[in-house]
């Protein structure tokens, strides 16, 4: 038993030890395993890939959208409950349509809206075609009738299965916009949009939930058109000064509201807008900056700083007037605004639309040009006349041309006459304490017309007192240059005292064709205003001057002329006496050895002018120098060659330089003929030119004898001779350059 008991005892100890060891091992396992870090835990992974497309704001225009969202049809004259296509309603009575301003409630959009609670709380809905996956937008304007009304926006495959999008709850007093987006589920090709009445502030369930401007579609889509109309010129051609009316309309033909709609345009310098003419249709405001940037914030809810909403089917507009600048004639005025906006779903992605650009050509108006002058001055008590010239340089007719002339009281206008293309004027005179106003209606004045209106009146002022008349011409047509519509002139009242005689007239700087006359300043009781220059005394006035000198030009060389001066005063009085006479002899022009001359002779008793002629163009010595009718031949044209003796030349015909004028003896009566030109010419062959007065010359050879036509005869082919020099016509010739 003991042994057995000992064995049992040993076995028992063994079991106990194993249990203790197992427990310790388990504890150790747990401790060791449990003390590991997180990394010690088992890991695995999977992955996925996918793609997502981002919408395009500009691609959201679609013809499929909710129709008649502003309940504009059928048109009702009072609150009417009836069918409103294409809406459907659960109310058997129909949809209750309110015209604008019913019960003091203005339509949010258009001219009508509805009360959702018609004969009872109901649901109105409309079905549109949709594409699965597309994102649609909805928007509406809602307000309570008597307090806070609430309704649900439901969208789905049908009214029965439509999903609540939101519950809109708004108080009375103002329209409140609600909007949202809806993604068309897979397989849903038609979608129902519905509004379901929830509650009303009224005790009657048939009252409440006013609704307007409902939209449901895929995106906004703006179209814009601009027009320009000339409010002036009968709507015809645009002229400077005309007022243009610009109208830009913007229509949302899409299915969702366009937001932040702002029109912008930088106006050209030739167009000045009238800020008081700005008219916004559909809400908004407009302004223009000093840099001519025109900004119109358009649409429902637009403010002075932000563009508004243009709901689907709604057209908004901006109209303004602008004046065409005076310098715009001949140019075109461009107007090409742009309208920036955004879609509700992509408010930060800008969209834009621009109407077709307008280019307005501007014609010139009627440019009236006025000019005033004095026709006749007068002594005090006499009759003076002013001339007022009016012309229209076009290009258009000046309409209702009116001329106003203002005279001082020292000139009393009495009569008018018209000349040129100016029609008879209808004038009236108005007397004031300081002026006489002469107002004349001339009427239409065609382009190119030019005429003068003379006004004659009595001068009543003292001698020498100035009378200034001022002319102003106006017309109802546009004038591109109004600065030349005014002109003034001054008439000085005449006096009769002449200036004193001018003295100390001299001539200086005389050339063959010019001379300068100088004199002492004249003296007058009022003042000298100018001088008349006379040839000799008693002749015609050959020149005038406002100073004390004058240069005469175009004088004949080798001539002597006398000149005298008279002073002129403002009344036109002349000095009673001529000044001292000054004689001016112009020198001959120097002989040019490169020129060819014809030498003519006019016998005293003949009207025929003959030319010196190398007879028969002879080539040999002894060829006679004769006078012969002029024929331009080379034997009638002569060249002068300088010699070693000052002022003396040899003279040979153009056709040969080897022969030249000569005489064979020094005796009077020796014939002039052509002899061989000697290198060192003798007195018989050298000639000098001497001024003979009146532009004529004599030819004197080295012996002091002069070329002479014997007897001053007019005989053709008569050979010339030498004779003692005398101041007689038979020795006077005229030289004329002939090359």
């Amino acid at each position: 038993m003991t042994s057995t008991g000992g064995l049992r005892g040993a076995s028992a100890r063994f079991v106990v030890r194993n249990r203790i060891a197992f427990v310790c091992a388990f504890v150790l396992f747990i401790v060791l395993a449990g003390t590991g870090t997180a990394a010690a835990l088992w890991n695995t992974s999977a992955s996925l890939t996918a793609s997502a497309g981002i919408a395009t704001a500009a691609g959201n225009c679609s013809p499929n959208y909710l129709k008649n969202g502003s309940f504009e049809t059928p048109v009702v004259s009072g609150v009417t409950t009836k069918a409103v296509d294409p809406w459907t309603t659960t109310d058997p009575a129909g949809i209750e349509v309110w015209p604008d301003n019913t019960g003091g409630v203005r339509s949010a959009l258009g001219s009508q809206f509805i009360e959702l609670n018609a004969s009872r709380p109901g649901t109105i809905s409309q079905v549109i075609s949709t594409t699965p996956g597309e994102t649609l937008q909805w928007s509406l304007l809602h307000r309570g009738r008597d307090g806070v009304d609430a309704m649900q926006v439901i969208i789905g495959a049908s009214v029965a299965t439509a999903v609540l999008q939101t519950t809109v709850s708004d108080d009375k007093g103002a329209w409140v916009r609600s909007s949202g987006a809806y993604v068309v589920p897979a397989g849903q090709t038609s979608t129902t949009f519905g509004l379901k009445s929830v509650s009303t502030a009224s005790t009657q369930s048939s009252l409440g939930n006013l609704v307007d401007g409902v939209s449901f579609g895929s995106g906004s889509c703006l179209n814009s058109v601009s027009t320009v109309t000339n409010t002036g010129n009968g709507g015809g051609a645009v002229r400077p000064g005309d007022v243009l009316e610009y109208v830009t309309t913007v229509t949302n033909t899409g299915g969702a509201p366009a937001i932040a709609a702002v029109l912008a345009e930088t106006l050209p310098a030739s167009l000045t807008p009238s800020t008081t003419s700005f008219v916004m249709t559909g809400g908004g405001s407009a302004a223009v900056t000093s840099t001519r940037t025109l900004t119109a914030r358009m649409g429902y809810g637009a403010s002075t700083t932000a563009g508004g909403v243009i709901d689907p089917g709604v057209t908004v507009g901006f109209r303004f007037l602008a004046t065409v600048g005076s310098t715009a004639g001949g140019t075109s005025i461009d107007y090409s605004p742009s309208i920036a906006y955004a879609d509700q779903l992509t408010p930060t992605w800008p969209l834009g639309v621009s109407p077709a650009a307008l280019s307005t050509p501007v014609v010139f108006g009627a440019d009236i040009v006025a000019g005033a002058s004095v026709v006749r001055s007068a002594l005090p008590g006499g009759k003076g006349t002013f001339a007022f010239a009016i012309s229209n340089t076009g290009p258009l007719t000046a309409t209702a041309l009116r001329v106003n002339v203002t005279f001082p009281r020292t000139f009393s206008p009495e009569s008018t006459t018209q000349s040129g293309s100016m029609p008879a004027a209808n004038c009236t005179r108005t007397d004031t304490t300081t002026t006489f106003e002469f107002a004349c209606l001339i009427g239409d004045y065609t382009a190119g017309a030019s005429g003068v209106m003379n006004v004659t009146g009595t001068v009543s002022g003292a001698q020498n007192s100035p009378i200034t008349a001022k002319l102003v011409a106006t017309a109802t047509s546009t004038d591109p240059n109004s600065a030349n519509n005014t002109s003034s002139t001054t008439m000085t009242t005449l006096e009769s005292t002449p200036p004193l005689q001018v003295v100390q007239t001299t001539a200086t700087g005389t050339t063959p064709t010019t001379t300068t006359l100088n004199w002492k300043p004249g003296s007058d009781n009022v003042g000298v205003v100018g001088y008349n220059v006379y040839s000799g005394t008693g002749g015609a006035v050959i020149a005038t001057s406002t100073s004390t000198s004058v240069t005469l030009t175009g004088l004949a060389p080798g001539t002597t002329t006398t000149y005298s001066i008279k002073a002129v005063d403002a009344s036109g009085n002349l000095s009673a006496d001529y000044s001292n006479v000054v004689s001016v002899t112009t020198p001959l022009a120097p002989i040019s050895t490169t020129a060819v001359y014809t030498i003519t002779k006019k016998p005293m008793w003949s009207s025929e002018t003959l030319c010196l002629d190398a007879s028969g163009s002879g080539q040999s010595e002894g060829t006679a120098v004769t006078q012969y009718p002029c024929n331009g031949g080379s034997n009638q044209r002569w060249q002068f060659v300088a010699t070693s003796t000052a002022d003396y030349y040899t003279v040979h015909p153009l056709y040969t330089s080897s022969l030249s004028w000569a005489v064979k003896t020094q005796w009077v009566g020796a014939s002039v003929q052509l002899l061989n030109t000697k290198t060192s010419a003798s007195n018989e062959q050298i000639w000098k030119r001497v001024a003979a007065g009146g532009g004529m010359v004599q030819f004197q050879n080295g012996h002091g004898k002069c070329l002479t036509v014997p007897g001053d005869a007019s005989t053709h082919a008569l050979q010339l001779q030498q004779a003692d020099c005398s101041n007689s016509n038979d020795q006077f010739f005229t030289m004329t350059v002939a090359n």
Binding site: C24, W42, S45, A46, I54, P347
Partner: protein, 188 residues
Amino acid sequence: MARHRAGTATSPLHIRGLLSAASIFAVAIFMGLTATGGTYALWNTTASIPGGTVTTGSAELKINNLASYTVPALAPAKLYPGRSIVSAAPMNFSNTGTTKLLFTPTSTVVTVDPSFSGWVDIALTPATATTCSPSSSGSTPVSASVTIAAGAAVSMCLEVRLKPTAPASVQGKTVTFSMAVNATQVRP
């Protein structure tokens, strides 16, 4: 005798008991030490030990039965600023291993035009129905960590949201991305 009897303390029976206890300790130490290893812990073998058998486990996560899954198509809708699109149907995330897993989307990489990465939020969230729905407007979708029991599965939805501040330059583009989903064994 008393000493001899004392010697009987090392009898064969006694020795076997000691050896048995020592072997249990050795297995325990070995198990404890090797359990602190890394991912090579995906053992698929067994080992027999005297006195008992310890079988290793496995950890495996699949999306619609694939370790790498390509979402065939998100909803055909397009992304708008501040709006989401979701996978057409929930995806099945299954734990085909032998241990409970906690999985979390850990990284998302936009693979086509990475410049878009700043403009989209991508998240995996548990499906609440048989279809997927975007998270509420105005919020940013956030991925959720989900625990799956061994052999179990959960339905998850993929949501992609374009940030409200996305510039107009991204419109009309396509965002392609990959998402890694890491799962970790949940301690027993």
